[in-house]
């Protein structure tokens, strides 16, 4: 009996590696510390009432960003472990299996659990404020989206200590990921189920923001008067809505191969491993634009604000994003040019890929012309935006090199490719979310991040990024392929790899400075008493920082683009409108169901990972009960009375 239990626990928990034990200990200590702190300060009630049950888009946005920063730390540690292993030839820091697991979790976490939630966090905070709305279209659904993402991420991360991580890469290509070559299934199931749960949340966020932007804009704000960030989220939402269903199906089919013995992507039984690549990238390529278009929007806002000019080429910006949204669904094959497609197929997708560089290039020129003759103010957000332009362009240009199908036979799966997509995803997405984080931080918390520390973290991170990824292009051309856990001496790769590793550590240092900046500023940061610390142009800066629960005491009337800049201009000229009396504001009620339902999804998912149907099926029944319970809730909103609005507005100095 005891032997059986011992054997079970030996399989259940990941054992044998000191680093894993270290992780076990730190997870246990962190959990105990959280529980003790919350109990000591009697904060459980506060946590439940203010955060776990909230449907307020601003709080949900903050929770998204906290989760994304934690996941960025985890993904970053993965990167540093990999780079340490590759620093010198014939290193024994990680073994092959462990290395495979780490590059898999690094990729999955960075795309699904860092880039997406970071962007969702920023859009939750900024979009309703930019369009003059009091919340999103479906606040309850918004909370559900967040908790599904959160529990999906937790389930995926659990694989590290319980059961073992997936090791087939973030693309989980068949047949290696399939049951024939991966018979234990547990690690792969974590991937399919964890990503699936958070993917359902992403799809719902897409629908939520599309409807919010389409239907809830302030009176007078026509589509072509919307701020550019809102435009980028509208287009992003459209891509999410139509790309994610394919991913849902793809992950489910992969899971069924393991659980039900189906033959979708297997070698035997008539399955087709190539079908996995085809379906995966039908989602995967639009996904690239899902994480890039929002940061294009952020850069547009930031560059216009700190160049003190209106954005150049507004209409062409919009048109190029619409073009990207259509083209992004027509280029997916360029991820597997080398899989043996016919020449016409490769030629078509080669052309469509090059075509998509055109609208992207148009945007680059628009930003440059916005800067032209502007009065440029070098704040931290602006530095991130300015650094984005050249660094991202390098990623874009190497992308066009990879788009040529015959040349791709040389570049494919080399370190050149790795350098290319890090140039787009770090110089684009990561610079962008850092830029947005510094830019909207005062709106979230009511104080600014320290500029000096911000600039330090920018320079360290940006220079290290180049030290890390510029040599990597050459390493690829020298013949090193991706996903090699080590390499022999004497190929000339050693020195280049060593430089790259220095860059990787440098980026870690940049991130630590940023984390320190957040801690320092929380204690000593400059308060934002005006609500408009940057001289902003859009409506989110017209209200106090942090925004009150109801956002706008009066819904603003919009007559032009850059609505808040125009309002400030009117005020200067003494054409300010007289304040009207307040009216009670209709707000949605908090609900605990999203949290409980997502937790039950987690339980069900954990059961299916281990094929414990006794746990998985009751979990899903619990989810269904939550849905039915919600269907019978009719008392789902309340009104904020006028005297409370008046008190809040007076406290922020908005009433004299």
């Amino acid at each position: 009996m005891i032997e059986n239990i011992k054997a079970f626990l030996g399989d259940f928990f990941v054992t044998g590696d000191p680093m894993i034990y270290g992780a076990d200990v730190s997870i246990a200590l962190a959990s105990i510390a959280i529980v003790v702190t919350l109990t000591y300060f009697k904060k459980w009630r506060w946590l439940w009432d203010e955060w776990l049950t909230t449907v307020d888009h601003k709080k949900i946005g903050i929770m998204y960003i906290i989760a994304a920063l934690l996941m960025l730390f985890r993904g970053g540690v993965d990167a540093i472990l990999m780079r340490t292993q590759l620093a010198l030839p014939n290193m024994n820091f990680l073994d092959a299996d462990h290395y495979n697991q780490i590059f898999t979790t690094h990729g999955t976490i960075m795309i699904i659990f860092v880039a997406m939630p970071f962007i969702f966090g920023l859009m939750n905070i900024a979009v309703p404020l930019q369009i003059g709305a009091r919340d999103v279209a479906y606040p309850y659904l918004n909370a559900l989206s967040f908790w599904l993402f959160f529990f999906g991420a937790m389930l995926f991360n659990l694989s590290f200590v319980i059961g073992g991580s997936p090791d087939a890469g973030w693309t989980a290509y068949a047949p290696y990921a399939g049951p024939e070559l991966n018979p234990s299934s547990v690690g792969q199931n974590y991937y399919y189920i964890g990503v699936q749960i958070s993917g359902i949340g992403s799809l719902m966020t897409g629908i939520n923001f599309l409807v919010t932007i389409a239907k809830m804009r302030a009176p007078g704000m026509t589509l072509f008067k919307m701020p550019m960030f809102t435009w980028s989220i509208l287009i992003t939402s459209l891509i999410i809505i139509f790309a994610f269903p394919t991913f849902t199906v793809t992950l489910a089919l992969g899971l069924f191969d393991h659980l039900l013995g189906t033959h979708f992507f297997t070698i035997g039984g008539g399955g087709s491993p190539m079908l996995w690549a085809n379906l995966f990238w039908f989602w995967g390529h639009p996904e690239v634009y899902i994480v890039l278009l929002p940061v294009f929007g952020i850069f547009s806002e930031v560059i216009a604000t700190f160049a003190h000019k209106t954005l150049f080429g507004y209409a062409t910006m919009v048109c190029s994003m619409v073009a990207i949204s259509i083209l992004s669904f027509l280029t997916w094959l360029h991820h597997f040019f080398t899989m043996g497609n016919t020449a016409p197929v490769n030629a078509f997708f080669s052309l469509s890929t090059m075509l998509i560089a055109i609208p992207t290039g148009v945007k680059i020129f628009n930003w440059l012309f916005t800067l032209n003759k502007g009065r440029i103010e070098f704040t931290t957000p602006m530095l991130w935006a300015l650094a984005f332009i050249p660094n991202f362009t390098i990623g874009g240009v190497t992308g066009v090199m990879l788009a040529m199908a015959p040349a791709d036979y040389q570049y494919h799966n080399s370190m050149f490719l790795i350098a290319h997509f890090h140039s787009t995803l770090i110089a684009g997405t990561v610079f962008g979310v850092f830029c947005g984080l510094h830019y909207w931080w005062p709106k979230m918390f009511g104080y600014l991040l320290n500029e000096k520390l911000g600039k330090w973290s920018f320079w360290v991170f940006m220079i290290s990024f180049n030290v890390c990824f510029m040599p990597m292009y050459f390493l690829g051309l020298m013949g090193m392929t991706r996903r090699m856990y080590t390499y022999p001496a004497g190929l000339g790769w050693g020195p280049v790899n060593f430089i790259i590793t220095i860059g990787a550590f440098g980026m870690g240092v940049g991130f630590v400075i940023m984390a320190w900046n957040i801690v320092w500023s929380a204690i000593k940061g400059k308060r934002d008493t005006t609500g408009d610390p940057w001289g902003g142009r859009t409506l989110e800066w017209s209200i106090p920082s942090p925004a009150p629960e109801y956002n706008f005491a009066h819904i603003p009337k919009v007559t032009t683009r850059d609505a808040f800049a125009a309002m400030k201009e009117d005020k200067k000229r003494g054409r300010e409108q007289k304040p009207k009396p307040f009216e009670p504001i209709h707000m949605p009620n908090n609900s605990g169901i999203p949290f409980i339902m997502s937790a039950l999804f987690f339980v069900a998912g954990f059961g299916f990972v281990f094929k414990w149907y006794w746990m998985g099926i009751p979990g899903l029944i619990g989810v269904a009960i939550c849905m039915i319970a919600r269907s019978f809730v009719y008392d789902d909103h309340h009104h904020i009375p006028t005297d409370e609005i008046e008190r809040t507005e007076r406290a922020t100095g908005r009433l004299s």
Partner: protein, 208 residues
């Protein structure tokens, strides 16, 4: 999406009950967008099925397996249920709670008959004909495509049951009207998906 002279709230005053609140209006639009995305979900399953249709391994082919009788029975039941559901929406527009509940219950019964027929079909294929899901890629694609549609129908049945209870409790109000209308849209949508299953799976399978 161009600016029109009337604001949304002005337009809503002259619309059917389910659109009269802002919440109802938003949710109906959102539900359309959801259905559009579900369209892509099914298109992925169709693409997968069509690619794997010929990969029969050691199992039977579509021609060996399919029988037209049960398929036509399922198709007719679902088409008629879409019709009765449409009559329910018509009664909703007449603010007739009893008529709405009656037609929704009829739709539910037809939905259950459809599910029964489909489960029986699965049972016949997988047990009696010896063609279970794990035998070949073709069978995997077939069962998962039809199973996903069947799961949607099952969800729809639970949803309509909840709505019928709420209609009996509250009558036709802006909120229950919105729920009933959306459930109706969903039911018609599932009928549309079935039309393509009928065409691309059964008829195509018997032709090729």
């Amino acid at each position: 999406m161009a600016a029109s002279s009337l604001s949304d709230s002005d337009k809503r005053k002259n619309m059917p009950l389910e659109y009269t609140t802002e919440e109802g209006d938003l949710r109906i639009v959102g539900f359309w967008i959801f259905m559009a995305s579900d369209l892509v979900l099914f298109s992925t399953l169709f693409a997968t099925y069509l690619i794997l249709q010929g990969s029969i391994g050691n199992g039977p082919s579509a021609k060996d397996l399919f029988e037209i009788g049960p398929v036509m029975a399922e198709t007719i039941v679902l088409l008629v249920s879409s019709f009765t559901c449409g009559l329910g929406t018509l009664e909703l527009r007449r603010h007739n709670t009893k008529g709405l509940i009656f037609w929704f219950v009829v739709t539910l019964i037809l939905g259950l008959i459809f599910l029964g027929l489909e489960i029986n079909e699965f049972y016949v294929y997988s047990v009696q004909e010896g063609a279970p899901i794990h035998l070949s890629a073709f069978l995997s694609g077939f069962y998962i495509l039809l199973g996903t549609h069947g799961a949607h129908v099952t969800l729809g049945i639970f949803w309509v049951i909840c709505i019928v209870i709420q209609l009996a409790q509250r009558g036709v109000t802006p909120v229950t009207a919105r729920k009933a209308f959306m459930a109706g849209l969903y039911w018609h949508f599932l009928d549309v998906v079935w039309i393509f299953i009928y065409t691309a799976v059964y008829l195509t399978g018997m032709v090729i």
